[in-house]
Symmetry: C2
Subunit: 343 residues, 2 copies
């Protein structure tokens, strides 16, 4: 019986991974479809002389990345990636994307032959030929079907059980339903789209549009202007997704991963905040990351650069005037007023 | 030659009508397609012993409804509706909707036989059988083709020439293009949709969703929740429009009149503000209208009631849980926490 049950493993244990583990840990116990125990691979750290995995497994709290919220007792922290994923049939990826390839190579021989995965990783990658989805990177390493989850999901608000929605992009409906069962909750409503690429492109490009929202806030241009720029940004996100991924669906942009996440990010996120400060203080991005984000890197500026280089290579700059203007304000000293004039 | 030119007349001279007259007055002089003179029908009032029409025609400023911004000199205020519309080939309607029928009856015999119109009037009407578009009311009275214009358009921000967008819904493309020529400007970008109904339904229902945003703000539920409720509201706006107007287009909701106006209204508008105060102060809507709006009526509460009664009659309440919950919180004493629980 047990061998037919799904064995779920969470790869990652940061702020978002810990919040997600609260949902997953609860949901697996509701259905006989899943084994109760869920391993969570934790990048081992030592806090005040104690290992983080030990703290999680005894106090049931990730005191470093999600302090103040208990994790379910069936979430078991495991520091060794191969041991963590042994026999896994469902993998939940929630690590910074630069670690993905290396982790996949290590886990490849240990997972079940009928394993599938879902990526909660924000952003997309770029190489010389263009954008590269995180799910495609994982597929190329592990050769497993992949879903993606993204939405207006601030981890601490989810942990506090404040109502929100999310979107799962799937390739085949059965996998989508399985993943929904893992995440769905009264306070965390899961929507569905058959569009793995669109969901991930939204999650990456909204950070670029949020830089524009921050520039607009610094100009004190009023609500009409800000909502117009957000709308134009949403259209360019859609145009970009369709240009590089032909199966992208229009509906995706009306889901939580599209319009809702864009709104949240353009009103509350750190990309918006740093972009406003960039104009007001004239400080460099590096200094702002140091001062406002404790040295963490902004995703929006990196993505703006990647998008610009890709569009330039493909002779498509004029199809994306808003994202190009945002890049030029951020990196080429274009006056911020051009945010509306160059559309 | 002059007889082939379009004669444009603006019906109304409030805050929005006056801001629109600045765009129209400028645009007609750019093209030989239009007569330079544009009559503006003004509901006559006396200010400090002087008639409002005289003030507008001498000072070129609507000192009561749009103080601080000059109107173009080719905008001519006319207090008599029949005289104002004589020979008109293009009518721009921008009066409170309760005056429409009576005005139409008066102007019917004076307008040109090939006249067309555009409605800038916010909101829709309801009767016993359901929603009633302002453009359909005008068509039933004057039997002329009608367009509708709506968007994230706060009149004072437009007068201050802050960048924004708007949407024109048209029935036939030629009329749409004509109307675009009247309004389009570098700082007031006109988008197009072949969807007269969708544009107007957006303009009305966004005020209901903004009440929900205000309730959410009072609960201090955070950004995830607010953007989720806005997104669900947008989907219900779309569902409602499709239910009552079969030709409504999905794209309309991605235009300025859809997502952008919804964002503006849920962050900045008076419906949002009064709804937050309704929860925080427990005062009645009437008292809040008195205290916060100088006795002006809220559009969102009236529309919420009309929508509820229509859906109830049509046994469709369960298709619109969010708008129904907003109505019940606003009028039936439902606890505000249900805003998320009843979705």
């Amino acid at each position: 019986m047990s061998s037919q049950q799904e064995r779920v493993v969470i790869i990652g244990s940061g702020n978002w991974g810990s919040a997600a583990s609260r949902l997953i840990g609860k949901n697996v116990t509701k259905s006989s479809r899943f084994e109760d125990r869920v391993n969570m691979w934790v990048y081992e750290e030592v806090l005040n002389g104690q290992k983080l995995t030990e703290i999680i497994n005894t106090q049931h709290e990730n005191v470093k990345y999600l302090p103040g919220y208990k994790l379910p007792k069936n979430i078991v922290a495991v520091p060794d990636i191969v041991e963590a994923v042994k026999g896994a049939t469902v993998l939940v990826f929630v690590v910074p994307h630069q670690f993905i390839r290396n982790l996949c190579k290590q886990m490849k021989s240990a997972i079940s032959s009928h394993c599938r995965g879902i990526s909660l990783i924000k952003g997309i990658d770029f190489n010389e030929s263009g954008p590269l989805l995180i799910t495609d990177i994982i597929k190329s390493e592990l050769n497993i079907p992949m879903c993606a989850l993204s939405g207006a999901n601030i981890a601490n608000e989810i942990a506090a059980e404040k109502f929100c929605e999310t979107t799962i992009g799937y390739e085949n409906l059965e996998d989508g339903k399985l993943m929904k069962e893992l995440f769905h909750d009264d306070m965390f409503r899961v929507g569905f789209v058959k569009d793995v690429a669109g969901v991930q492109v939204c999650g990456a490009l909204k950070n670029v549009i949020a830089l524009g929202a921050g520039f607009c806030d610094a100009l004190e241009m009023g609500n009409n202007t800000k909502s117009a720029l957000m709308r134009i940004g949403l259209i360019e996100m859609q145009r970009f997704a369709k240009k590089y991924y032909s199966n992208v669906k229009v509906e995706t942009f009306m889901e939580s991963c599209g319009v809702a996440d864009l709104i949240t990010t353009c009103y509350g996120g750190r990309n918006r905040k740093c972009a406003e400060a960039f104009i007001r203080t004239k400080k460099s991005w590096n200094v702002l990351e140091e001062e406002l984000l404790n040295g963490q890197k902004l995703q929006g500026t990196t993505t703006a650069k990647d998008v610009y280089l890709t569009l330039k290579k493909d002779n498509a700059l004029e199809e994306f005037p808003h994202m190009v203007t945002i890049y030029r304000i951020a990196f080429e000293g274009l006056p911020v007023e051009r945010i509306v004039l160059d559309i």
